[in-house]
């Protein structure tokens, strides 16, 4: 079964080659972003379940359980909600 990406309770398709931000944008979900490079923190969100891999070092300050959408990918089902 293909992995899924749940965002704010809504289920979307998950492409493991794209960042989570790109995944949402490809499915017409508007998400806040600025730098798209992991340093501004505009796309900070809460990881409800699942794991992410970072393609670049996430520089923005993250509290426990928070993730940056712009520089993370996932190849397993993942559940995220906005702050």
């Amino acid at each position: 079964m293909a992995s899924s990406f749940t965002y704010n309770g809504q289920e979307y398709q998950l492409d493991p080659n794209k960042t989570l931000l790109e995944n949402l944008e490809a499915q017409a979900v508007s998400v806040e972003f600025h730098c798209r490079d992991g340093h501004c923190g505009a796309c900070r969100s809460i990881l409800v379940s699942g794991n992410v891999d970072y393609s670049t070092f996430p520089m923005a300050y993250l509290k426990d359980g928070e993730v940056l959408l712009c520089c993370s990918k996932s190849n397993e089902s993942i559940n995220i909600k906005s702050l």
């Binding site: 600025h34 730098c35 490079d37 340093h39 501004c40 505009a42 923005a60 300050y61």
Partner: protein
């Protein structure tokens, strides 16, 4: 507690707090207590740019064709940004270097302030191109009431900290022989905790500066460029905005590391104690920026932006930036009133397509393309 440029005390920098521990001795970056500051240095260095790389020569024509009220918006913003970067180009160094205790943080502070000096130099680059004599513009920065109001608030927290630290490093904190007279001329009992509190408030104020004070000007510059006007300027502002996002990251890191108890435990207590005051500093900065928008548009708005939209944007980013340091968002606004601005704030997107505007990166490696037959006179077949 005198400052020393090279402490011979053999200490473990990994065990020092960010500030008010032992002075940094060996500038070593093989290990870091807080890796993020090393990453910030690397990122800031990779962002290096020079104002002269950007051709602003076409901006002069655009500027001269603007109606008076739009010229006022453009020049006032440049004046305000010149003020902000004048302060930021020196203050982190003067205020924070004498008290910092981690090598990676010390170098980050220097890298940060240096990049602000590049911004200051870029304003001169822009203004020199617009005016034969930019003197009048620069002189107005210290006379303009609207700019002055903001300057006082920004420099106050830095000055308070610098003053107290200088006293401590000269006289110690004993205060039996010499009493501390604060910057307002009043006698004050000074403890290390008091100075730490001044540091905390100073970083709160700097964080508000990096978080929102620049963004009214940024929005105006990008709004001009959306109309294909003053594009050279917008390209410079885009590079500045990219740097400012890093600087903001650093102040957010410091505030969060303190509040979460990951650094000096006394700073965690102070963060709790000053929670309300830190919020007030932020709200006051937001209020001043909205007043600035009012001043900018006093004689008329510009296409795509007016006072109301800009004030909403200030509230919108204030919400975001305050959430990032643990406050509830104070304003109602939920959506970005100028969503197009995000495309100007993307970090890896600074190069533009040739058909859109002149590419700045080509100018870096330019060569002299005029070849005279005399240049070939030494060639023989």
């Amino acid at each position: 507690m005198a400052y020393t440029t090279f402490s011979t005390l053999s200490n473990d920098a990994l065990k020092e707090p960010m500030f008010f521990g032992n002075p940094v001795n060996v500038a070593r970056y093989d290990q870091q207590k807080f890796e993020v500051f090393e990453k910030l240095i690397e990122k800031q260095l990779s962002f290096f740019w020079r104002p002269e790389e950007i051709d602003v020569s076409r901006d002069r024509i655009d500027f001269l064709n603007l109606p008076d009220h739009e010229q006022h918006i453009f020049i006032s913003n440049l004046k305000y940004q010149t003020l902000l970067d004048s302060i930021q180009g020196r203050s982190p160094n003067v205020a924070l270097l004498p008290i910092v205790s981690l090598p990676e943080l010390e170098t980050w502070i220097e890298t940060w302030a240096f990049s602000e000096t590049i911004h200051s130099r870029s304003y001169t680059h822009i203004l020199r191109n617009l005016f034969t004599d930019p003197n009048e513009v620069f002189e107005d920065i210290v006379n303009n009431q609207e700019i002055q109001k903001r300057a006082v608030d920004i420099s106050y927290y830095y000055d308070e900290l610098i003053h107290a630290v200088q006293f401590m490093q000269l006289h110690g904190l004993d205060q039996t022989d010499v009493e501390y007279v604060n910057i307002q001329g009043k006698a004050e009992k000074l403890t290390l905790r008091d100075i730490k509190k001044k540091l905390y408030l100073c970083i709160c104020s700097t964080n508000a500066l990096e978080a929102i004070r620049f963004y009214v000007s940024f929005a105006c510059s990008f709004a001009f460029a959306e109309r294909d006007l003053l594009e050279g300027n917008a390209k410079i502002i885009k590079l500045i905005a990219r740097d400012e996002a890093l600087h903001l990251n650093a102040t957010q890191q410091m505030l969060n590391l303190w509040a979460d108890g990951k650094d000096d435990p006394e700073m965690a207590e102070i963060a709790l104690e000053c929670f309300a005051e830190g919020r007030e500093i932020f709200l006051k900065a937001a209020e001043q920026e909205k007043e600035w928008a009012q001043y900018l548009f006093k004689d008329g708005s510009m296409i795509g932006l007016n006072e109301q939209i800009l004030s909403q944007y200030v509230e919108y980013i204030a919400n975001q930036r305050m959430q990032a340091i643990g406050y509830e968002p104070p304003f109602e606004v939920k959506n970005n009133p100028i969503p197009w601005i995000n495309h100007w704030l993307v970090s890896d997107n600074v190069q533009v397509a040739p058909q859109e505007a002149e590419i700045s990166s080509y100018l870096v490696g330019q060569i002299n393309s005029s070849v005279d037959s005399a240049d070939l006179s030494t060639f023989e077949l």
